[in-house]
Symmetry: C2
């Protein structure tokens, strides 16, 4: 990892506001993308903006998402430019003035072009998705049928431009506000994998794997 | 609240995939929008997609967000169409086949047009934002200065079209998979306001308000 292992800031990604919080490094962008289970994908269709929340996964500089092959929407966006946004909220910054209120967060903004993943690599891509969620789980599941693969569209983008932005510190009040008679600090927020709830309808065929059990309590 | 208190499905908002999970009712859309602290706003600039994560707040059918008045970006989008997406992930649905894996989530997709909030209502709008975060807090804070208000751009949209979509149930396996020797169920996920961390740099001028203390432990 060197200072140049990333994407040069572009007109679209250069962070103009508080650039000290930003990075164009692969490591910084990957860390945010991988921490999140879902993202917001922005498309332009007929000149109008569309944003779709979706689960995503990553392999190197390629980011994947998926949906139903019956979705006209997904078919329509193949080949178009896309902006993929990931963000996680880590806290409310409760300052001594309204103006200095803020949030602690991790975010990444990626630009690229939508590609449809070909039939012969779709299965491997979907396995990688399951493995992101629960390492080792694909080995426990039957292989997808041809019909299931046909029913699934997997889309991908190669990151062409990207930036990450993180705020992870305390309140920053103006000197003249420091004596204000008000509580100031962080209301910390966390997103946590809380517990395993076994299928109540049908007896479950096996205990959760060690890898699955070890996810419980994990904070994103 | 009647069955028609909402937005008629449009070409953009009609839920084609699993429409049973969707709603066009105000109550359903408001519930998702209000539960979340942040959203993803999608714009089109020079024909290209941009998605920005931002905190948001709501007053009736108007949704607000804000940023620096120095942001060229925010100035540029006034008057353009916008797609505002909110989503919260509530669980991983770990089915007995890869294909039937899913997520529990709440999402809302809103369409409208970006307006700049005028100087004479900006202060009230920003107060409403603080009140969303911590009820009663604006009464504890000094009023914003004219300079602070000038430095802040508040944007808004009136919801023209909207839909909400929720998945909040267990695994849905195919009958032929029910005997599979694999654990099946939900890995529940929660986003929680975890704890108050007082400013470690400067003595805090007052204890947290009752309203602030009561937020600790709240799940979004």
């Amino acid at each position: 990892m060197t200072a140049t292992d990333g994407w040069p800031p572009s007109e679209r990604t250069r962070l103009r506001r508080l650039p000290a919080r930003g990075s164009y490094e692969r490591a910084a962008v990957y860390a945010v993308v991988d921490a999140a289970l879902s993202c917001s994908v922005g498309y332009v269709i007929d000149g109008r903006p569309f944003v779709t929340p979706t689960a995503h996964w990553r392999d190197g500089d390629r980011v994947y998402w998926h949906g139903s092959a019956a979705s006209r929407f997904l078919q329509q966006v193949v080949g178009t430019e896309v902006c993929l946004s990931v963000h996680l909220v880590d806290g409310l910054v409760l300052a001594r003035s309204g103006f200095d209120h803020s949030m602690n967060f991790r975010s990444a903004t990626l630009f690229g072009r939508v590609e449809a993943v070909s039939d012969d690599t779709k299965g491997a891509a979907l396995d990688a998705f399951i493995e992101k969620l629960v390492p080792g789980r694909t080995a426990e599941l039957r292989a997808p049928t041809e019909q299931e693969l046909k029913a699934t569209t997997v889309l991908a983008m190669t990151i062409e431009e990207a930036s990450a932005k993180v705020r992870a510190h305390g309140v920053s009040d103006k000197p003249e506000d420091l004596e204000a008679p008000v509580w100031a600090g962080i209301l910390a927020i966390e997103t946590r994998l809380r517990e395993l709830l076994p299928d109540p309808e049908v007896p479950v065929g096996a205990p959760p794997s060690e890898a699955l059990r070890s996810l419980v309590g994990r904070v994103l």
